[in-house]
Structure formats: C-alpha cells, structure tokens
Symmetry: C2
C-alpha cells in the first residue's frame, strides 16, 4: 500500500468513527490500566522533576482530592519520593484538557466508537478561572471537584443512560454551524449538550433543587461539552492509528514542558517530543504574556481530528477570546488545508460554502511546506496554584514532525 | 430639525431601547384594548372577506380554542356575520409570527423597555409544521395550544418572575455571534433562552415530569425564542416611532394579503399597503412554490430593528433552510447597509469584522436607490388548515415606500 493509500485509509477511519457518549463512571472502574497510586496527565510522558508549575499544581490538587496527601507539602513529598506514578492519559485511552490530571476516584465520561469498537475517556469540566486543570488546588477548587464527583457526574451519567447516548459527531457538526470551533469555543456545543440532558436531569435528580443546581452549572459553563468533545476526537484519532505506512498524525499533546506527537504508522508508545512553545494571546485582567506557561493539554486532539484551530473559519467570534481578526480565523482554516489529507465528510464550515474541515495532518506536508498545525488553546499561569490567565494561539515545534518523518522513512524504507 | 437629525434620533431610540422579558400572562389581562370578542392578527388591518387561507385558518382555530365556536362551520359563520372583530397586533403593542392571531385567553410574553418605558407582547411559539400560526387548526394543533396555555406559559412565566427578567437585547447580540440571524434562524437564541430558564423551570414545576416535559418542548423547538425576540424588536421599533420628520420605517408587517409599513414621522394608524409578494424559497417534501401563500406575519419586525434578513451575514448556515449560498447571505447584509441610517451599537456581525448590523430603514434611501428591504420568512400553505410548507426570502412592494415618502413630504413640506 502506498503512503497515500495508507493515509486515505487512516483518515477515512478517523472520519467514519462514530463516538457516542454512553455514560459516566469512576476512572478506576473503567479506564484500562488505572491504578490506585497512578495519576494520568496530559501530553507525552513526564516525571515530577521536569513538570511545569500548572501540572505540578494539578498533581498536588489531585492527591489532596484523593485523600492520599493531607497537605501541599505531603503531596510534593509523595511525588518526589516516587510514591505516586505518572502516565499519560493517552496511554489509557483518555484525554484531559490543560494539566489533564485524572485520578482514580474521579468520574469520567465514557465514549464508545460504535463503528470501530474502541472506547475513550475524559474527566468533567470545571469551568473557567481557578480550576485544577490550570494548576489551582485551593479549597474552593477541591470543593467544586467533590461536588462534581458526587452530584454532577452521577446525575449526568444517569441522564445519559436513562435516555439515548449522545451522538457527539452530530453534536460537533451542529456546533460548527453555530459559531463554535470545538476547542476554545464550545458555547453552542455546551448548550446543545444541556438541551439533550436537561429533561432527563430534571427527572433523575433527587429533588428539584439538585436538578436546578446541575442545570445551572452546565448552562453557565461554556466549556461543559469540551471534555466529551475531546474524548470523541480521541476515539476518532485512535481509530486512525496503526495503519501501516501512514504519515497521519494521530496525537498532538502537551504536558506543559514538552509537545509530543504520535503517528498512525508507528508504534503507540513512540512519541516525538520537543520543548513546548509559549502561546500568544489575550490575557485576563492583571496578567500578561510573562505569566504564561508553555503550551499544555491534551486538547490539541481536537485539531488532530479536524476541528479547533482547523475549523476557526466557523468561529469568527472566537477572536475576542484568542486574539486576531475574523480574517485571521478564516486564514487559519485555509492554511490547514495545505497540510491535511482530506476534507471532513461530517464537519462542514458554512463560511467556506460548507467545505469539509481540513482533517488528518500529513507529516509529509508539514515538513515539505514548513507549515505546522495551528492550535487554539487556554493559557495557564506558569506557577502552580494560580489557574487560567488567558487564551491564545500556538504551534508545535517543527522538529517533532521532522523526527517523526525520519522515523517512518526509516521503518518503511521510503 | 433636519430629516437626518430626526432619523438619527429615531434610530438612536431604537438601538438604545432595552427590552426585558418580565413575564407571561393572559392576553385579556395585559394587552391594552384587548376584548373578549376581539382577535388580533398579523400585518395591517384586514377584514374576513379579504383574508388569505392561512389567516382564516388561524382565526377558525382561535375561535375553536376560545370555545367561541364549536366547529369550523360555526367559526366561519361567526366571522362572516361580524360576531368577532379583527384588529392588527400592531395596534395593541403586540406582534405575532405568520398569521399572528392572538385571542383573549392566550398566554403572551410581556416585554418592558426599561429605557423608554413602553411595553410589548407576543404569543408563545408552537414549533414547526402543523401549527395555528400557519393556519392549521386540527385537534392536534388545538391540543398543543391548550397544553402551552395551561402548562408551558405559566411555568415559563413563573420561572421568569422567580429569577431575573431576561435581557433580550443581550440575548440577541449573543445569538448573532452563534450563527443566528434572529428571524428564521433562532437555534442559538432558543438554547440561550433554555439555559436561562432551565434551573427555575426545574424548581417551579409541580413535579419533575412536568419540568422535563417543558424543558423538552423548549429545547426541541429551535424557534422557542422567536416570539420574545419579535416582541423585543417591537419594543425597539415603537420607541423609535413618533419622531417628527423622521423617514425611518418603524413597522413592516404582512397579513397574507397586504404588506404594510408605518413610518416614525407619521401617525400610528397611518399604514401604507400594497399586495404582498409570494416568498421564494425551499419547500418541505411534497410541497412546491405553487402551494405558497403571499407573504404573511409580523416577524418582519426583526428586519425593521436590524436583524433577520439584515443580519444574514452572521448566519451562513441559514441558506440550508431559506435557499441561496453563504455568499448571498453576506451580500444581503451588505446591501441593507445601503438603505439604513445606522450601524447597530449592540448587534455586531463577527463575519464583517464585528461591524454593527444595518439598522433603521430610511424610506428616502429605499426609494432613491430602488432597493427594498430583504426579509427572511417562513412560507405558509395558501389554504386554511394545512400549515408551514417551507421557508425563503421575500421583499416588500416598492410602491408602499414611495407612497410613504410622498405622505411625509406632504406633511413636512420637504
């Protein structure tokens, strides 16, 4: 099979995947390989000494949340002594935005790809500002996480299993017609999510006060659906992995220190990494570019699957959040057609006459044209304990695409 | 005051109006001048003999709904004998989509313009297909209307009065950033409406089954917010009425037979009318252009206030519903800048670099340039009892703008 044919096969699998949100359960019960002393994190593998501030902050918070540590000091000591292990979410079929820390007791979304049979997982979204995924771990953050785990997760899970599962591919497609790009802007998608869940939430809540509380939380958080969307993209990307000879990128992920990619035609544990760039964007009041941590999070799985920065043409209003002009947003999408293998069959962009979104990053094109993927991203403060400070744009380092291409050339004797 | 100054004043009042949705109540209790044997209808004044099929159908349905007639035959006899009076919604501070029939027992939204103090009203939206506003009046239609009146209306009204009133100008502004144009596409706005109401609905429903039923109905109807949006536009347009010398159009409305406009600088009861055009568009399966009734409904109040067809640049996906291409949608908005007095301060269009939507139709420009306003519209079957058959685009007849300009020239001795 030629590389082109291998890529066509990989991208077809990516697009034809049909990720359905089927439930919510505890990470330790459903994520393959999850263990009691294991924390999953965003991006390629990394150990405590090299972790950036926001990832460390999220690790501290997760250990406090689990009750494994009694204090920040305890948590740091545990991490330093190696009493807790760290593995990428991506090694366990999971993804998490920003720090992406998933601990054993956390409730996670379960996504099933009805076409190819693979499953994926993501944690629940906490909203904006001081949140664990941006490295904050104050009492307020932990209290919210406990409420999410005890009330939000079970109620949403109950609502999903009571009604029909949620067709996330259809939800994403609709949101792209409503000004979302699916990564940094999930306003419409989150409202569609609310709409689909609201009647069942109202019916399954223990009382109307609890129902109201959960409906308010989901409705107020314009990122409510980000995590299921990311897991849907993960299910699509995983379906495209393992096609012999394919140069399609199946993972882009960052841990706050390194940016890593994986490629369909290479092994699952074969990462290509280089230091992550610092995103450039708009900052919340009181913060500046100098506060920004290097790029972090598994959320670049959205761009990997053809949405996010790749679908910005659909989301001109996003520039109020990430910077630039609507024309820049349009150009971002147009540029991504240069480095992708296909136009998406299901994700269409009205502003471009319903052209399919650019889907399936081809390593060869990235290297040949010198164009790296565009990623929309949140920006974390570089210190542990602070939280989100802005949102903006970033690209991966070119080196990892060159390295990956050399590796596949070596393997395939191109 | 020059005409330009008068127009600037009128359009400023239109834009600065702040319509808040403050409650739901029975038409006879809140609409000024509402009487027990009075039916309000869309468009300029019209009597039974000249009414088109869909308006007749809605009249029959409303008389059955009120219990004033026992059968279709009874209802027709009542109308023919003059036992029921007909007046435009617009003469009572109200608006209704399509046939726009509001009967005394119907629940209506109450909108208050917090800046200028005027109030406006609209009925509740029934959804798509076989519905009263398109002239259908089967048992299914009447049953839904009764449920809306007995369950939906009171619950939504209770939810609004329990929480804060809904700022409809802010809701419209946000929806325009989410792919809506606010007339034929209210997908995002309806979800924002659901989001704002859901917690309070859940708390005020008599039980969780009722809450779920209402959340489902609002969520499933992508036009849920159309009627409050129309009433908001009515409150804005009314605030702009009565500025001496102003050539700004403050009403565009159709009754299925005639298209009528009113102008700020002329009397409130001074309509300029001509036969309504037949909209051109896309038809539901089984129907064709030959089934279409002439243009009908008060919903052109949205275009009057600077959204709808005037804001199509924000809603490229609407072309799947009304026909044409995204480029046509963009051009519709660009053309409307030619005939309007201002760019909206609050309604911005991301696709046009956040330019304000074209607002305040200036009679002089319409006549001078020979460009009539563009209106997005639903299409009713021409016969009573059928319902909606499609959606498309239409323009008012040029004659009414010429007549209105002559009238104001006469009055002002221009």
């Amino acid at each position: 099979m030629s590389i082109d044919a291998a890529n066509a096969k990989a991208v077809k699998r990516m697009m034809e995947a049909r990720p359905m949100l089927t439930g919510v359960d505890e990470a330790r019960r459903v994520i393959p390989g999850m263990k009691d002393n294991l924390l999953l994190h965003a991006g390629p593998p990394i150990d405590w000494p090299r972790m950036s501030g926001p990832l460390r902050g999220a690790v501290i918070g997760a250990l406090l949340f689990e009750g494994l540590a009694k204090s920040e000091k305890d948590a740091i000591a545990m991490a330093e002594k190696g009493e807790v292990s760290f593995e990428p979410c991506h090694h366990h079929g999971a993804v998490g935005p920003m720090a992406g820390v998933i601990s054993p007791s956390m409730k996670v979304y379960i996504i099933e790809n009805k076409v190819h049979g693979n499953r994926s997982f993501s944690n629940l979204n906490e909203g904006y500002g001081k949140v664990l995924r941006y490295g904050a771990y104050s009492d307020e953050v932990l209290k919210r996480l406990r409420w999410m785990n005890d009330v939000l997760g079970p109620l949403v899970g109950g609502a999903i299993s009571q009604g029909n599962p949620i067709d996330l591919r259809a939800l994403i497609a609709e949101a792209l017609h409503m000004g979302d790009e699916g990564h940094n802007r999930n306003k419409a998608g989150s409202l569609l999510f609310l709409k689909l869940l609201a009647p069942a939430i109202s019916k399954t809540a223990k009382d109307s006060v609890q129902a109201a509380e959960v409906l308010q939380f989901i409705g107020d958080n314009a990122l409510s659906v980000l995590n299921p969307v990311m897991a849907a993209c993960k299910a699509m990307a995983d379906a495209a992995h393992g096609v012999k000879g394919s140069t399609i990128v199946t993972t882009m992920a960052r841990n706050g220190t390194d940016f890593g990619i994986r490629v369909s035609g290479l092994a699952e544990d074969q990462w290509f990494t280089a230091p992550a760039e610092i995103p450039v964007g708009l900052f919340f009041s009181g913060f500046t570019q100098a506060d920004a941590n290097p790029d972090i999070g598994d959320s670049a799985i959205t761009e990997t699957a053809g949405i996010g920065g790749f679908a910005m043409a659909s989301a001109p209003a996003i520039v109020t959040f990430v910077g630039g002009t609507p024309k820049d947003a349009l150009n971002a999408t147009l540029e991504m057609y240069e480095i992708t293998a296909s136009e998406n069959r299901y994700f269409s962009l009205p502003a471009l006459d319903f052209r399919g979104s650019p889907t399936g990053i081809d390593l060869r094109k990235v290297v040949e044209l010198g164009i790296t993927p565009r990623i929309n991203t949140g920006i974390a403060h570089k210190n542990a304990g602070v939280g989100q400070v802005g949102a903006g744009l970033v690209r991966p380092p070119m080196k990892i695409f060159v390295d990956a291409l050399l590796a596949i050339a070596e393997k395939q004797k191109i």
